[in-house]
Subunit: 315 residues, 2 copies
């Protein structure tokens, strides 16, 4: 029934981002429109029985996904500790090579493919990504050479030349913010629940100083504690300074390698707005894109390359 | 009995370093020789009942310390959360002013005095120390202007001009090493029990790189994880790299403020030898002194200023 398959609202595939702690699925139409969406906390670390196939089929049934519909997956599901390993593609890595190295899950009637991550096998600055390559696929349509900043628990800075990832750097910024707030003596000073805003003066001042001198980070962490003891600095201000120190140090260090003043920011929510403000302080011209939309776009682009509609019609 | 009091082996005072997690006491002779020594884990955080006087008297009885013997204490016992607050002396802080601001514990028959810490009340780089001022007193006899490096959980760099502390900076290096090894994704890569040695090649190479470019710290942390995944880097090598990143970033950042190439290193054990090797890489001429000996010397100097032997004889 080609007419139904080609209808813009007919399900074309299921796209999934299956990470360490979260699992997100979308039922996508042929043009990439999300028809259904599901979120769950059944990330890798919450599946001790490793029953990936059963979890996936349960989700697909909840979505009323037709039984023959193919599924494309990105994220840690393709890691060695995941469902089926999709070995890393090495830099310089064309996103087309990433697509060609997707791994089909064996032993299933349904066509389920997992996208590989990218590895930078340099001896001095080894690095890996899984999931971000799919977001890069989702923004590669912007064209040209891009410096991409992807904030999160483990923020990535990426040099993308057309469709080729030439190099990247991971910063633990999000994880450091959490661990400094909860597990060091700074926990007595900051408010771990603080929602620092991008117009916060302490955040901006600290960011600006650290962008100029990112090596100040280690010398300034303890001032957060001392300012509380000596000047009664509030927990919100303390959190703003900590956020400014970490984001400023990241941007200051990253800008030594990624020098283009045009930065594509793959952000979301409040964290995205903090990075947007900080990058502006660094003199960058920022193109913000929505992190969730670009992963969906990337998965749709992958699905379109695997299952061209012509192919589906002839099947 | 002046002859007994003046005997070099007669007890002159008890000196105590009473910190957050530990409590160390020495029975000192008039010339500062330790006649007895006790260590305990009854630091501040382990005394929920705040029964400081009772704990001290128990220890003194264990040492057979005469009932009239005075006691001098440094460390967190003088903090607001401690036994009796000894308010901070502000920078520029003469060590003589520190001595003059010791606080006598009220309501005791025994003469017990607690030394104050030092505060740097700057708006931009506030900082505090408690305990290190006593170590500085112990090395002030070296004379002249000194740049002092005091490694530990919270490492201090201090500018000491004669007997005046003109400025200082706290680095969380020891705490960061512990929290990165145990509470971040690096815990999958490092060996928290590794005993990195000062001739370890990965430690020295990483230190040298970070001393030159301390802002690389945030960009390099994740390489520890990636090198394990991609190159099978051993946990010991990973720990050596983490140690090199943190100590190198500290020294690289500290050297921007503390430029003298002569550094007095108040160290102990393996950590002291790591700093000694790292400071040599930074081109510093290092004078190592033993951390425990200098705190004892500082407490003895304080006691000698409070209780001159002439005074004791006339009492």
């Amino acid at each position: 029934m080609p007419s139904i398959i080609n209808s813009p609202n007919a399900p074309f595939c299921v796209a999934a981002d299956w990470g360490t702690s979260n699992f997100r699925l979308w039922l996508l139409s042929g043009d990439g429109t999300p028809l259904e969406e599901l979120r769950s906390e059944e990330g890798l670390t919450r599946l001790p029985d490793r029953n990936f196939a059963a979890v996936l089929e349960t989700k697909l049934a909840e979505m009323n996904a037709p039984s023959g519909l193919p599924v494309v997956i990105c994220g840690m599901a393709g890691s060695r500790q995941g469902w089926v390993e999709a070995p890393y593609v090495e830099t310089p890595a064309s996103l087309d090579t990433v697509l060609l190295n997707a791994v089909r899950v064996p032993g299933l009637r349904r066509d389920v493919r997992i996208l590989p991550g990218i590895a930078q096998k340099s001896a001095s600055v080894p690095d890996v990504m899984r999931g971000e390559e799919t977001q890069l696929l989702g923004i590669s349509g912007l064209g040209g050479d891009q410096t991409v900043c992807m904030p999160g628990t483990h923020c990535k800075w990426v040099s993308l030349r057309g469709r080729v990832v030439t190099g990247f750097t991971t910063f633990l910024t999000g994880e450091l913010y959490s661990v400094f707030s909860n597990s060091t003596l700074l926990k007595h000073s900051v408010d771990p629940a603080a929602r620092v805003q991008p117009d916060n003066a302490e955040f901006l001042d600290t960011c600006a100083a650290l962008i100029q001198e990112p090596d100040l980070l280690t010398a300034r962490l303890f001032t957060i504690r001392a300012a509380g003891l000596l000047h009664g600095q509030s927990p919100l201000r303390a959190s703003a300074v900590l956020s400014g120190l970490l984001i400023g140090a990241e941007i200051g260090a990253a800008r030594k390698t990624y020098r283009s003043s045009d930065v594509t920011l793959v952000g979301a929510g409040r964290l995205g707005t903090l990075y947007e403000a900080a990058l502006a302080l660094a003199g960058c011209k920022v193109t913000p894109v929505d992190a969730e939309q670009v992963v969906r776009n990337g998965l749709h682009a992958a699905a379109s390359s695997f299952w061209a509609r012509e192919e589906r019609q002839s099947a």
